[in-house]
Subunit: 427 residues, 2 copies
């Protein structure tokens, strides 16, 4: 698959808060030629930056991992919603791109992506109508969505009749866990639903799916995850034996914390002659400095034999902002807030500071964000903090998805924080 | 002040997730002519909607309040960052618009807004350069920012020399509270800083300011707020007596929870011959169904004599989404998540449901959001819940600021949820 970007040239303008000056439009492909440096404050702060070196490393890492594991990668694009970053993943051989919503699918189609898993039920009049329309008009589109109830199947069939959709809809049957999100809890019910799908004139049962990533907040994560993935494998075996699948069956899972287990457990399914394991991990590309760093550490400890040689995934995303005020001992107020950073899986971490570019960024230890307002961070700082008003602080983040959606664009930087380009996002 | 919008026609396209169909661009001024109805699912769900009737009511309410209190309103535009909504506030007689960041100021300038309070310190090379540039090029621009430290003043003066800025910068001295955000904690230090500002060749001391809205999470809010506002009044009196002010002094405060106290306390300052009280409340226009509803209830109870006749502020913003799955008893999964709704001041509240437009929306009781993922809400539902897969659920939200920034556009609707137009946002 090749990404055929829109022929129009992309521009950044005043609608991007990080652009310096009066906000006159700059072509995306000329951003690098500006020679802006973040430490020189050539850009309007706060900004979000992505280190080229970390992205390149993470790309090589994941390619090595999936190659060794003999699995396909259909990375979740919802993390970044960025055509430039999705293009990198496709250049690395991604089998397709995963979407969370039909609006994402529509956006991907604008980017020219032609194999998409909607890792969600297809529900809602306009959502269904758009997908049927897109499938009717683009016979090369390879689209999959999830199903987890007879009610959803009936809504789809009714809509297909009403809209006179003559095509077939490829679906993955979704398994879930008690207390979890979507997905069938009972395997016998799931098998009945698989049969129902196999008999539907509209649907094609293409595989079995789960999202094990919802399990990441409890102590006994791993066994719950293993159990769910094993259930997927057993259900796929039963469906294969019963002849319910159309085509080569797909077994798919993979948030960004347990994709080792998704590979090892799903790959052992006893389905002949063959089947595909499709990972949907999306956060690997940018990684983070907290949630996924910890999940990744556990993953490496759990599955050392599966790890590519060398270092693991690296955090590629940082936020840089100014110290605005040091209004009382032990406190600095810095110019990033809920509008700039994720805070749903841990607050951002102040890890670097800089007063002037020649001095370079230095490690910042003992500083902690304790509260965020819409546009301000409250930092607890030690008595010996080097910070003064006007200094720059660099933050690592936790959970890239909810940081990306706060930025219409992010700068690409080299290790010295010189801007080499930018990526856009479309949320 | 009149808002001179960009002469280009505004369009909604595939970059707006709520647009139906393939995302072909529709002119903003033709959205109403489409006769879309949310309950008929003519738009792609989820969507954010604003009730015209509630907005109109809130506009009248705030106009009545500020007129009776004889205060000026400079509403915080960061809540919505929407030119169409800011235009309403300016049409209602807003004295200016408040910004949280220099990027907001730049955006407002694109909207044609010519009186702006940056309710923040002006820090950072590009931020300062932009403001100096804009002031130099637009002599009609009436711009104010905050100061709370000698360090910030020195950064501004150094930048002015370096950039050869020959103008004057109007500043408000900021007071704060111990354990709070920005702003001076000590009144004697503040008075010294006022004198320093008065003597600066760059700065003009135009007033005294505080943001009392950071105090809303503790039990003894009200006394803390009163104390801060009284300190502002006393400091302004001292600065006036010392001749530190340039022009008619401004006393400014006012988040959206205590603007009654800001009016009553600041208006009693003993400054002759005259001074202006400038409220910066922004959330009144859209209001909400949780945080500000409660703050507003307390405000009305505290200051009954200041309330305009009739009902108080009404929640204007709702989110509508589909039930995607009912995977186990007591649980519904609905298609809104952290990408669609605020969750920093309470989770959204499922308050309405609808199966088909002729039946109309009905009240939904006993349902509660207990978890949000990026694109999913987990609802605890009672055994007698009317919901089935495919039904629509309407949510009230808590904290409009962090809901607006998740939507490039929001639909304007009549009370029957027919779309009459849309407003854009620029975050």
């Amino acid at each position: 698959m090749e990404l055929s970007n829109s022929p129009e040239r992309a521009w950044l303008s005043w609608t991007f808060k990080g652009l310096p000056g009066r906000g006159e439009a700059v072509a995306l492909d000329e951003i690098g030629a500006q020679s802006w440096n973040v430490l020189d404050q050539d850009v309007m702060l706060p900004v979000a930056v992505i280190y080229n070196s970390a992205i390149e490393h993470n790309r090589r890492w994941m390619t090595a991992f999936t190659t060794a594991a003999s699995v396909r990668l259909c990375p979740h694009g919802k993390t970044t919603m960025s055509p430039q970053l999705l293009e990198m993943q496709i250049a690395d051989g991604a089998w397709g791109i995963t979407a969370a919503t039909v609006a994402h699918v529509r956006t991907y189609r604008r980017f020219g992506i032609d194999r998409i898993i909607l890792a969600n039920q297809l529900i809602g009049k306009q959502n269904i109508a758009y997908i049927f329309d897109e499938l009717s008009c683009n016979l090369g589109l390879d689209f999959y969505c999830l199903v987890d109830s007879i009610a959803a199947i009936e809504l789809l069939e009714t809509a297909a009749t009403h809209l006179q959709f003559g095509g077939r809809l490829q679906v993955l049957l979704e398994l879930g866990i008690a207390g979890g999100r979507t997905g069938l809890r009972q395997d016998d019910v799931a098998l009945q639903l698989a049969e129902r799908i196999a008999k539907s004139p509209l649907l094609l049962l293409r595989g079995i799916e789960a999202f094990e990533g919802i399990v990441q907040e409890t102590a006994c994560d791993e066994n719950t995850v293993r159990g769910l993935l094993e259930r997927c494998a057993r259900l796929a075996e039963a469906c294969a034996a019963a002849g319910f699948f159309a085509g080569v069956p797909i077994l798919s899972a993979g948030g960004s914390g347990f994709f080792d287990l998704a590979c090892s457990i799903m790959s052992r399914a006893a389905i002949s002659p063959n089947f595909d394991v499709v990972l949907r991990s999306g956060c690997y590309l940018v990684h983070d400095s907290r949630l996924y760093q910890e999940l990744s550490r556990r993953l490496a400890a759990r599955s050392p034999d599966m790890m590519p040689p060398g270092p693991g995934l690296k955090p590629a995303l940082e936020l840089w902002a100014c110290v605005h005020s040091m209004p009382e001992p032990g406190r600095a107020i810095v110019s990033i807030g809920k509008r700039d950073t994720s805070f749903d899986a841990g607050l951002p971490r102040p890890i670097k500071w800089c007063r002037s570019r020649p001095d370079g960024p230095k490690a910042l230890v003992g500083h902690e964000v304790v509260r965020l307002d819409d546009q301000h961070a409250y930092l607890d700082i030690p008595a010996e903090s080097p910070l003064v008003v006007g200094d720059l602080v660099g933050f690592g983040i936790s959970h890239p998805c909810t940081t990306f959606d706060r930025w219409p664009a992010l700068y690409l930087v080299d290790d010295g924080l010189t801007v080499t380009g930018a990526v856009q996002t479309f949320f």
